[in-house]
Amino acid sequence: MEKKLATYICTGCGIGDALDIDQLAGVAQKECKVPVVKTHACLCSQEGVDLIKADIDGEGVNSLMIAACSPRVMYDVFRFDGCIVDRVNLREQVVWCQKPGDEDTQMMAEDYVRMSAAKIKKMELPEPYKPEEEFSKDILIVGGGLAGLTAAREVSKAGYKAVLVEKEKELGGFQKKVSKIATFPYKGLKDNDVASLVQEVSADGNVTVYTGAKVEKTAGGPGLFKVTISQNGTKAEHRVGAIVMAAGWKPYDPAQLDAKLGFGQSPDVITNVMFEEMVQNGGLKRPSDGKDVTAVAFLQCAGQRDPQRLPYCSATCCTTSLKQAIFIKETNPDANVFIVFKEMRTPGQAEDLYRRAQEEGVIFIRCQDPEVKVMGSAVSVEALDELLGETVVLENLDLVVLATGMVPVTAFGEDYAKVRARMQQQEGEEKKQEEELEVPQDAIRVSDILNLQYRQGPELPGLKYGFPDSHFICFPYETRRTGIYAAGCVRRPMGVAAALEDGAGAALKAIQCVELVSQGKAVHPRAGDMSFPEFFMQRCTQCKRCTEECPFGAINEDEKANPLPQPTRCRRCGVCMGACPERIISFKNYSIGMIGDMIKAMEVPEEDEEKPRILVLACENDAYPALDMAGLRRMTYNAWVRVVPMRCLGSMNLIFIADALSSGIDGVLLLGCKFGDDYQCHFIKGSELANIRLSKIKETLDRLVLESDRVRFETISITDYDKLPQILDDFAETLEEVGPNPYKDM
């Protein structure tokens, strides 16, 4: 579109008192050649907004620089459809954090106007991504257990179609083996009615069910997935828009347990899963001789909370053992039932079940380290009772039930890193000579569930212990693959109630995904964003940086290593843009050229003016709001800084630093989120990748004979605004010690 620029400067909220507004307007008008420049005492008022609207309607202005408050506020007031809008943050990040009336404050404001003008000249309105193919709004559900069945039912009830793939011959998953369940309100046992759910889903015309089947191949991306399902040697293809991954769990292999727990030493030592199977297949009998069961010991945490085996807690086993114990007591009140536990974990109303078991006469023994003794056909348990302070021996047990844990199915299969290494070895000679950046690889197991046709590997990356989530506190259904949502015990160990809720929750995320994608919009966390990366392929050198670094596996590769972007998989973080050494990746409203021009628009005073300049590249999700809050608190910080927000620090391209330093800016400070095991980056590895890239810039700096101290990376969180002034001052001090950038006067 033909741009007609206009700058509106608000003089309210202290802006007019702290700055020389005429001079500021002059910068927009004369230097930046903005044809329409106006000021208003309160731009966010109806009168102020009307002033802008009149210019849009009357003057045809369509590219607006709103020099007022932070873009994080008055977002609805300054939304003008069809116009490009850039917010110049004069309030929070200039006048509220700088000395009023000071020359340096004025210079800062003027620079931000220059930078905005440079930015808006390079910005275009994004157009939604529309492929030639039609988008599908159907939803694939992998796994026909409780969570998957629920997802299928809920998807259908919301008016969408589902394809349900289950590897077993029948639907129902693990719950098929379970006769009695313990769930809300946890007052006692209930009959399991998974069969009616199976029936409901099977009879649902909106759900296509494949049993005894598997997903052989998943190609494409959200809205455009092509899924190949194989069943009895035949293949079916479905186009789906999103995927609920509810492939479930496997019981921990009891053969791997500590020998002290006696598994395999007597048929009367079984697991909690075997208990369920036994109840269903003819009732509870002593496995060794089929006699009645009158003395039973449950041993909790079998192989769990054990660094050598399953380090985590499977969350459901306490409730399960209570249920099984109550079941025995209800069948035979005279039975001696013991639960040997480390810690009884019955959160919420499940505490009532614990109380119920106590009322039923189940005997609880707190012991960290029980031992099963098998002498011929006799089975006993020795346990140091922490409450009594003495060892109790439970003799003549008919049954010992080991409460083993849950392992997500995504934790099985070969480590994909090994597969990759093998493939690379086969390529052998072709290996590139130039040194490669070490990009942290995702933990992917070849678990044969989704068989994604993704360059970064065939399954969902695991976060920890193989659970395939990415932000398990704030955004629990998200995985590292766009449009694929994990639900049920594959996501975290959970009981019946949580699995039901999970099926519904993940179903909504999938529905949301197909709706947003079909409008050409991004999903979480930039939901609604219509921009997407475009590749200028003529200049691509097939270096694979973008395909390797994308945290979401959004970019495939052809045989010649050309990137094949899949825009619907993209989260719009710009990590690819930051990664590309040829700088061929850009968004309509966020590009290398745009940020480069913003940096170059900064005025760099000559050395003798003794006004150093610091470029701050700040994550817009955390560091930028922190800077705003420092302003809100009227904390004064260094006047040399100029902040450029980044969609994610991972979109930081090294050229920004080179541009800054070669134009005489004295230092560059990167403010990104915490990375590592407890990463806080919304794009998973953005800040980490930025930090890795920095290892490269140090070499470049040395070659330029510039001090590596000129570039600094700080991880800060959104609440670190109290520390920001110090961080900025410290860096400024370092730069003073280093001295002015010699490129300043060139």
Binding site: V73, A158, P311, P347, E351, G389, C474, P476, L508, S717
Partner: protein, 420 residues
């Protein structure tokens, strides 16, 4: 099947569950009215210093969620609002929402001139009354909406006119009255959350009587930089640094005389708070008095991490009584070590009571009959056709569980209004 008249959804409660339900439904394309009692969204998580187990700030996730609302005009937010009545059936509810006066209109820019002009101070509700704030105040640094509030006491005071005149933007309306809004909605998500169990009922712990016996929610504010002490954990009685801190678990929870259920989050919350203490006081002795450590799934890792602290004593036993030295305001915890059966009297400087979650619905039920359990939780997500309960309205839950639950409830609410 619903007799669908309107496709709008109302979400009651702007804490983690309600916020999630509202945003998730809106991003799926539905119009949502989000009704919140406080002058800001975010509920109790906004008042937390950090989340377990990552020890990351809740503001981080809230910023993303607030941005999702800012970018999505389908969410209409009502703050200082409470639902007065609900009539009708699934697909066709008539709801009356009462909106308390903020005395500040949408012209407010959060410039702070009103607070500058105001000398009257009130107990700061955001900091659980541990400090005061101007009676013209911004609820907290990341308040959403970012708009000031006038306390009614200011409006009635002689200072009111002066504060009004200090506003350059004509944003203060001293005569703003309570008003009601009638909404037509097809379905409702009820997510009014929880309140900390009233510690004054725990008289054996001196709850409310001993200044150095605080609650876990107060501890979050003490540790937060934007809290009453700029993040310094000190004794409320004298502002001194504590040398010994005791976390008393199950203070009211798992107790037939108080809350018989387990509140689910308090073990991890206290262990998280132990890390706050440790960060500020490397030599402090910390006691963690507990019955069972309830750390499900990978939260177990966090317990193991904290256990590595050799000055943090995991003491198995329920504290029977806390006494106070009236001169020093220091405390003694009387507790039986259940492992040795010995009775201990342990002197400490500060006690943090891990008070449990009492469902808000136990005191403020829905204005239409739905089934509750004996503790006042709504008995199931499907409270009644078209009305869905989410988060801690249903069961004690941590943040992740509230998000998951809110999302699930959003889908149920959508199903009620979808035209088929």
């Amino acid at each position: 099947m619903a007799n669908t008249v309107t496709q709008s959804i109302m979400v009651v409660g702007g804490g983690m569950s309600g916020l999630s339900a509202a945003i998730e439904a809106a991003e799926a394309g539905y119009e949502v009215f989000l009704v919140e009692k406080n002058p800001y969204l975010g509920g109790r998580v906004a008042q937390l210093n950090q989340y377990f187990p990552k020890l990351c700030p809740p503001y981080c996730g809230l910023e993303i969620n607030f941005r999702r609302i800012k970018d999505n005009p389908k969410v209409k937010v009502f703050t200082l609002a409470e639902v007065e009545s609900i009539r009708g059936v699934e697909g066709d509810f008539d709801v009356t929402v009462k909106i308390h006066p903020r005395y500040v209109n949408e012209k407010c820019t959060a410039c702070g001139k009103c607070a500058e002009a105001c000398t009257l101070e009130i107990e700061n509700p955001f900091n659980y009354g541990m400090d005061t704030v101007k009676a013209a105040y911004l609820p907290h640094d990341m308040a959403f909406p970012l708009r000031y509030v006038l306390d009614p006491s200011l409006v009635q005071s002689a200072e009111a006119q002066k504060v009004k005149e200090a506003c350059p933007y004509d944003a203060i309306e001293l005569d703003m009255a309570e008003k009601t809004v009638d909404l037509k909605v097809g379905s409702i998500v009820w997510a009014t959350g929880w309140k900390p169990y009233d510690i004054s009922k725990l008289d054996n712990y001196g709850g409310g009587a001993y200044p150095n016996v605080i609650t876990n929610v107060q501890m979050e504010r003490l540790a937060a930089w934007n809290g009453p002490t700029q993040g310094k954990i000190v004794r409320p009685s004298d502002g001194q640094a504590p040398q010994t801190v005791a976390f008393v678990q199950c203070a009211g929870s798992r107790d037939e005389n108080h809350l018989p259920f387990c509140s689910g989050i308090c073990c991890l919350a206290s262990l998280k708070q132990a890390t706050y203490v440790r960060e500020q006081y490397p030599d402090a002795t910390i006691y963690f008095f507990y019955i069972d450590v309830r750390a499900t799934d990978r939260l177990e890792d966090f317990v193991n991490k904290v256990k590595a602290d050799d000055k943090l004593i995991f003491f198995k036993g329920k504290v029977a009584k806390i006494t106070q030295d009236d001169a020093t305001k220091s405390l003694v915890c009387r507790v039986e070590n259940t492992m040795t059966e010995e009775l201990h009297e342990i002197p400490v400087d500060l006690v943090v009571l891990a008070t449990g979650m009492q469902p808000t619905t136990s005191e403020t039920p829905l204005p239409t009959p739905v089934p509750y359990d004996e503790y006042g939780f709504v008995a199931s997500m499907d409270a009644m056709p078209g009305i869905f309960a989410a988060g801690t309205t249903r069961t004690p839950a941590n943040v992740a569980e509230c998000v998951a639950d809110g999302t699930a409830a959003a889908l149920k609410a959508i199903q009620s209004v979808v035209r088929r």
